[in-house]
């Protein structure tokens, strides 16, 4: 009987905290406040993240000094898209170990979700079994208020994104009437106006676009990068103000590496990035944007890696605008004989010359890559020289072969989108 009374009293306390949180929310208090309320009540550190695991708030009532990065490293295995259908009975709580400077820390992760949509996570540091029944109830109740707060934040973000997408489209496609109006609107959208700028175009599966745009680092060169979605690509604009020309590349590289790591951690795969040359001001962005897209498409086509800089494409950027017939004739003139020889004699001379060039003409490395003896490779190269009438030591001959190989690669390219 007494136990029942006690339970009733505790439930009432829980309800009071819930009511307090709801009132606070109605008064415009934000997520850090709700996280602090929860953490103080259960006496454990609490971290609140959104659906892509970006940390929205951390409160540590015990003063453990635990530090968290921009994203909480929740392990993979959960679809993070806003509209991902989650089964109603999916386990709302899961435990894990978090590797920190202080060592491994146990945490319990509560999904903040409604049946068809995930809004975020409430992470309580400590094992689930260490939590009392009352604590669990408070966490569940305050998770509801956190859900409302996250939903409001997301709704505001969607409106802001729509305005930004529309405006950025106009800037990147030179679609505006006056520079004055352009700068005025940019200022209203809190766009960091100080150039120069770098434009990055990220290609990712269409169903992960909205996730990908929110996974980028929140800060670059002391200002917030602009993330927008245009024509099924995520476009990122970085301000390079106060950076020297020598620093541009290094800064962009480290930004891209961080972005790629975030995408990887969230199971966003098959991503490619194209980066245009530096745009001096807002009104030059359209050129840099087009360059980034050319770099992206050519990088994908020619297989030059996941990250392509327009400035590093060299002569390859001229390939796509040359007449197809001329390109075909060029490739046939310089490689036609070994292609025909390969077909007739069932040899691999084309692959041999390609690997030879990829290995910078190093016989030992090339032989290893082809799994053949060095002498076999030398014989093959001699045969190639004989058939094509070239000298593989001459730079002009090598250049022609290289160009012809790139043209052949574009031949196999057939996009179906």
């Amino acid at each position: 009987m007494q136990e029942g009374k006690g339970m009733k009293m505790k439930t009432k306390i829980c309800n009071e905290i819930f009511m307090e949180a709801i009132k606070d929310l109605a008064q415009g208090r934000d997520i850090p406040h709700l996280a602090a309320l929860l953490a103080e009540e259960i006496g454990k550190p609490v971290i609140v993240t959104d659906d892509v695991k970006r940390v929205m708030a951390i409160h540590d009532p015990l003063g453990t000094g635990v530090r968290v990065g921009e994203f909480f490293p929740l392990p993979r295995g959960r679809n993070n898209d806003r509209k991902s259908p989650l089964p109603e009975d999916e386990n709302l709580v899961r435990e894990g170990l978090w590797e920190t400077e202080q060592g491994l820390i146990n945490y319990s992760c509560f999904a903040i979700q409604v049946p068809d949509r995930l809004y975020g996570y409430c992470i309580v540091l400590g094992a689930y079994r260490e939590l009392e029944a009352r604590d669990k109830m408070i966490i569940r109740q305050l998770s509801l208020t956190l859900l409302l707060a996250l939903k409001e934040l997301l709704d505001q973000e969607i409106i802001r994104e729509r305005l930004l997408d529309e405006f950025t489209y106009d800037v990147l496609y030179n679609n505006y009437d006056s520079k004055v109006a352009l700068y005025e609107k940019a200022r209203r959208l809190q766009w960091h106006l100080e150039g120069p700028f770098a434009v990055l175009v990220l290609d990712t599966p269409a169903d992960r676009l909205n996730t990908a745009r929110r996974l980028g680092p929140g800060l670059f060169n002391s200002s917030a990068p602009i993330y927008t979605v245009i024509n099924e690509n995520v476009v990122i604009i970085l301000s390079l103000a106060n950076l020297s020309k020598e620093q541009y590349m290094g800064s962009c590289d480290s930004f891209v590496r961080e972005l790629m790591a975030n995408l990887e951690a969230n199971s966003v795969q098959n991503t490619h990035i194209g980066i245009g040359s530096v745009a001096a001001s807002l009104t030059d962005l359209h050129q840099s944007f087009q360059e980034a897209k050319v770099a992206l498409e050519l990088g994908k086509t020619l297989g030059t890696g996941d990250i392509s800089y327009f400035n590093e494409l060299g002569f390859l950027k001229f390939i796509f605008s040359a007449p197809a017939q001329e390109l075909q004739e060029f490739a046939q003139r310089h490689l036609g004989r070994i292609i025909a020889y390969d077909l007739e004699m069932e040899t691999d001379l084309l692959q041999t010359i390609e690997v030879y060039l990829n290995q910078q003409g190093q016989i030992t490395n090339c032989a290893k890559a082809l799994y053949v003896h060095e002498n076999t490779l030398r014989n093959r190269l001699k045969k190639i020289e004989q058939l094509l009438g070239i000298d593989l030591k001459r730079i002009d001959h090598l250049l022609n072969i290289y160009i012809a190989l790139q043209i052949l690669k574009t031949d196999h390219y057939d996009e179906v989108k």
Binding site: N175, T283, H286, Q290, K293, V294, S321, D414
Partner: protein, 203 residues
């Protein structure tokens, strides 16, 4: 605004090669003699034992990544929210960079004005709910104006390229084609009197 990219859908099985689209465009846009913003060419290729022939009608493709917009030193090109690539005559100095840079050779320099001219997808007609001159003139509806992003609902089997179209489409042209169906093409009688002269005029 919903993402939109206006463009063309071309059916090579229907095109008669009559060039009504070319003429309607030239007349509607009041172009000087010899300047055409649309071209119709016969394509021929061998598919196994069969020789395939069909007509291809092309103009500016209002690319998603327009080279003209990237290269123009005067920033005379822009792309509207609906994807139409526009050319501002007041900014153009007739340098011809766009004509050389476009992989489809769509912009042309108008000898009477000395400035570049290109298809604007008859945006003024579109804004009033009418079709572009070329689309409206096609007697067999081989040419249609579509929204590329919402194409799947109208033509799920449309393809990005046909024989005779650039293979490497870095600029992402906003044109789609219906697949070639062997034996379905309706061709004008080859070698008909006047065809040679007409072709030469149009090139």
């Amino acid at each position: 605004m919903a993402p939109s990219q206006k463009g063309f859908l071309f059916d090579p099985n229907r095109c008669l090669g009559c060039r009504a689209c070319v003429m309607a465009c030239a007349a509607g846009k009041n172009l000087p003699p010899g300047i055409y913003l649309r071209h119709v060419e016969m394509q021929e290729f061998r598919q196994g034992p069969r020789i395939m022939k069909f007509f291809l009608s092309t103009s500016c493709n209002h690319c998603v990544n327009p080279e003209c917009l990237r290269l123009c030193p005067e920033r005379a090109f822009r792309k509207r929210q609906d994807g139409i690539v526009m050319h501002d005559l007041s900014k153009c100095n007739g340098c011809g960079t766009c004509t050389r840079g476009c992989p489809f050779e769509a912009p042309m320099v108008n000898p009477t004005t000395g400035k570049a001219v290109k298809c604007d997808l008859c945006y003024d007609r579109l804004d009033e709910g009418e079709m572009p001159f070329c689309v409206a003139a096609c007697p067999v509806q081989a040419l249609r104006q579509i929204d590329i992003w919402h194409l799947k609902a109208h033509a799920p089997d449309a393809v990005k390229r046909l024989h005779g179209v650039l293979k490497l489409q870095v600029t992402q042209p906003s044109i789609r084609y219906l697949s070639l169906k062997p034996g379905k093409q309706v061709l004008r009688h080859a070698g008909r009197k006047g065809d040679e002269d007409e072709n030469e005029d149009l090139q």
